[in-house]
């Protein structure tokens, strides 16, 4: 079993790697323009180019993938010649600083012709001074400097005749200056080192917004799961035992009915009836500062909508599987042996009949975590599915990758659970 789990683990790593490549390629190939998504449709082509340069999006896809996977700080460190360190400011924002020879932290900015260094002391005290000694001059007489700016980017500043431009300098006014940033590397640690990167859509670390969405989806899927599974399995078994009976028909037909009505129809009808007419529960999920479980009344309708769809589906699969198992010769033998009815059902029939429903249920956990976009949209539920959809429409690679990785984890995890449950249901199944 341990061997089996280890093998599964490596298979999961491989899957994640392949999926991450696929997501990167698909996002790359899909139509859309990130600069316009972020800055609006009204920007000029020069603005678009400048934006792509600043975000590092004009690099080849392989380079971007590598940065996403293993980070770009090592490359920036080599360019700058100093170690880099990520600190969290007291307001909770992530900041990258260069570590100076004497151990203090430093960042730079250009003001006119001057390079200004901002230093951060051990207690977070900020001081600034001119730092023009750091310029390197090449044989054409042009100066350049690789440093780190206040936007968490490694930046190459260049000074030279060709770079002349008018710039506004705080406290001085307009000055003709000849320095400008020309190259950017956005600094990140990389996914394998625990940093899923900055979301293009929100401009913030993906981990921050994804965490909340994941929690919300877990609550929704979890509540639905806990309610649906016992009911669906029980009713499915009962219906399967009496195939063709009035009870079977009475369960199967409504079950089928609800599973074929699209969830947005069910959802809207439930809102109309339970929220608008009867006023029993709120029709939308407005959590505000609170976590979903603090407002169970708001969870009622989304969970009920999910339950109605899932219930019929699982019920019908369990019923079919149960009915089939009841035809098997080993069940007949058990009866002929004279075993009590319920013992035959639970010890022999149900255990065999559950293999198919368990497979389906485990696959459906995946679906409930991210595939129920429509339910989320109907109730304004801030879940993972909506988050991934928005990210996909926005071409927000970092967010999509992080979401996809979580989904792979869940998929592999639920399959593993299913495999382990199989061994309990049917002792003949062994993994080596």
């Amino acid at each position: 079993m341990a061997k089996f789990i280890i093998r599964r683990f490596f298979l999961m790593i491989l899957t994640m790697l392949l999926v991450s490549m696929a997501v990167f390629l698909i996002t790359e190939a899909s139509p859309g323009n990130v600069a316009r998504n972020v800055l609006g449709g009204f920007i000029t082509p020069e603005q678009e180019k400048s934006f792509l340069n600043q975000m590092g999006l004009d690099e080849p896809i392989l380079v971007r993938y590598l940065y996403w996977l293993v980070g770009s700080d090592w490359r920036a460190e080599r360019k700058i010649g100093l170690d880099l360190e990520r600190v969290t400011s007291k307001e909770g924002f992530q900041e990258w600083w260069a570590v100076k020879e004497d151990g203090s932290l430093v960042r730079w900015k250009m003001q006119g012709e001057d390079l200004i260094a901002t230093e951060r002391g051990p207690q977070g005290k900020i001081s600034t001074h001119t730092d023009n000694e750091r310029w390197t001059t090449n044989e054409q007489g042009e100066s350049f400097f690789w440093g780190i700016n206040d936007q968490n980017q490694a930046v190459k500043w260049e000074k030279g005749k060709k770079k002349e431009a008018w710039r506004f300098v705080q406290g001085t006014g307009w000055m003709k200056s000849s320095g400008a940033p020309t190259e950017y590397i956005p600094i990140k640690k990389g996914f394998v080192r625990g940093d899923p990167g900055i979301s293009l859509r929100t401009g913030r670390p993906v981990s921050k917004s994804l965490g909340v969405r994941l929690r919300n989806s877990l609550v929704l899927a979890g509540s639905a799961f806990v309610i649906i599974m016992p009911i669906a399995l029980f009713l499915g078994i009962v219906a399967g035992l009496k195939e063709g009976s009035l009870l079977d028909r009475g369960l199967s037909i409504p079950g089928m009915m609800f599973s074929v009505i699209p969830e947005f129809v069910t959802g809207i009808f439930l809102i109309l009836i339970l929220s608008q007419w009867l006023g029993l529960v709120p029709g939308a999920t407005v959590f505000g500062e609170k976590a979903p479980w603090t407002r169970p009344d708001m969870l009622v309708l989304p969970v009920l909508t999910l339950a109605l769809i899932e219930l019929g589906y699982i019920l019908r699969i369990t019923r079919a599987s149960m009915a089939e198992v009841m035809q098997h010769s080993f069940v007949r033998t058990a009866f002929l042996k004279g075993l009590p009815y319920w013992q035959v059902i639970f010890k022999h029939a149900v255990r065999n009949a559950l293999i198919a429903p368990i497979t389906v249920i485990m696959l459906h956990i995946n679906w409930m975590m991210s595939g129920i976009v429509i339910v989320e949209v109907v109730f304004g539920y801030p879940g993972l599915g909506k988050y991934l959809l928005d990210s996909a429409l926005y071409k927000d690679v970092a967010a999509l990758e992080a979401g996809a990785m979580i989904m792979v984890l869940i998929a592999v995890g639920t399959q593993l659970i299913a495999d382990i449950v199989y061994t309990f249901l049917n002792p003949r199944i062994r993994y080596t």
């Binding site: 859309g32 920007i43 000029t44 859509r201 929100t202």
Partner: protein
Amino acid sequence: MSQKHMHPGVFDLKSQLDTGKISRREFIRYAALLGVSVTAASQMAGLTWPGRAFAGSVKRGGSVKVSAPIERVTHPSQISWIAPSNQIRQVAEYLTYTDADNVTHPYLLKNWEASDDLLTWTLNLRQGVLFNNGDEFTSDDVVFTMNQWLDKDVGSSMLGLMKSYLDPTDIEKVGKYQVKLHLKRAEIAIPEHLFHYPALVMNSRTFEGDFIKQPHGTGPFTVEMFREGERCVLKARKDYWKKGVDGKSLPYLDSVQFINLGTELAPQIAALQSGDVDSMDMSDLPGPQAFKALKDNPEVKVMGIPTNSARVLRMRVDVKPWDDNRVRQAIKLCQHREKILGLAYYGEGLIGQDVHVSPMHPEYCEIDTPKYDPERARQLLKEAGYPDGLEVDLNVGSGWNEIVRYAEILKEDAKPAGLTVNIKTMPNSQYWEKWTEVGLGVTVWAHRPLGTMVLNLAYIADDEGKPVPWNETNWSDKEFGELLEQANGTLDIEKRRQIFCKLEKIQQDRGSIGIPFWINQWMICRKRVENLNAHPTMYMYFDDVWLKS
């Protein structure tokens, strides 16, 4: 302001008012544009400016919840849509304020003056205004902010708006409270541009590219929490410069909370009905559906307002078959305007005449509304070399319901003309990615207070003859451009209107767009919310909003 500093145009305006050539509202608007304070102008116009009257006294305290998309905000100048500005607008402010009647007032400015040739604009700053971190608001902040707009590395849509008349070096800091703009060409709409949604003034001392990290604005609220895709909490500040009717600093509210419920209407309506939210950000919602759903609800106020915003059927004139004016005219003739307005927008708007000047614009010159005429359209198509009819693709964003319906009606009504319209729907975001590139599409155009503003943005070419960035149809016309240039520097409202008569005729006869209707917009809130008013731009202001107990 004493009379001798007054722009000479103001006196012309006054005489036009006296002879009845312009209305009082137009007089106030234009006098305000030229730097006369609205109070002074309304006195000149023989009106007294009504202060905001309240039934009883206002009540302080309380919190308002608004459902709104919480989108990325880092650099205020980069804000690319109204919704994020509705949150940041409570924290940072504009130099000017254009009210719901399209009259522009000073805001962070004390007043402004324009030179006779409209080439030099002097902006006088309001003194004693403090940022919420204690810094004083001075001309450095104005120059810094304008410089951010004009920096191509920032990526502000203000650049596209201003670059034809303003370079960074044209901004002169005269004193601590005065800034002069030396324009490259005459422009009358400077005060209106300063109220464009990304034009929020930032603190030059602390701003480092991310407003959420240094949320220092002059506005009535401070940022307590800003979590993209989730919610945004704003808290009232104590030392805001505007005073309420009770003589104490605004705002009346303790806090405003924006909660993200997605962009779908249904959950937001449900939340408003149950009182879980007090209002909703309407800037990206289908207004008519919300209006229909809530207008009879006794708990909810639905306030409508006509706007200069339209859904524009635009044709790229350098793409076949739209390079032929006869084909453009043919599809325009297939618009059954009353039917489109009635079915696509529930009749909540004004009929358009295929010119991008709305009846609500001050310069609007009355022009005939073209009739639905498929026979004439068929004839035109035949002349253009399509005797057997023509098949075209119409690109629309599926998120705009009224556009999809408009497209469907057009499709049906174009059939008798031999014009087959294939509707190609896509998500709105995808439409925005190629709005300037598609041959035939329907684009959403936002409200703008002056008629010249859109025409300058979308229907001219630059000095090299290249279409300006927002010119989505690549249409330009020598005569049209010259007339518009003339209109940009013409103060006299009657003369301006006469130029507009010609401009409108040209655009109707050989332009690149169809505009079947102008839309209404709505502000919707719970009954307990007082003073939250509808604005044609969909801007929300919470500085003097208060809650009834």
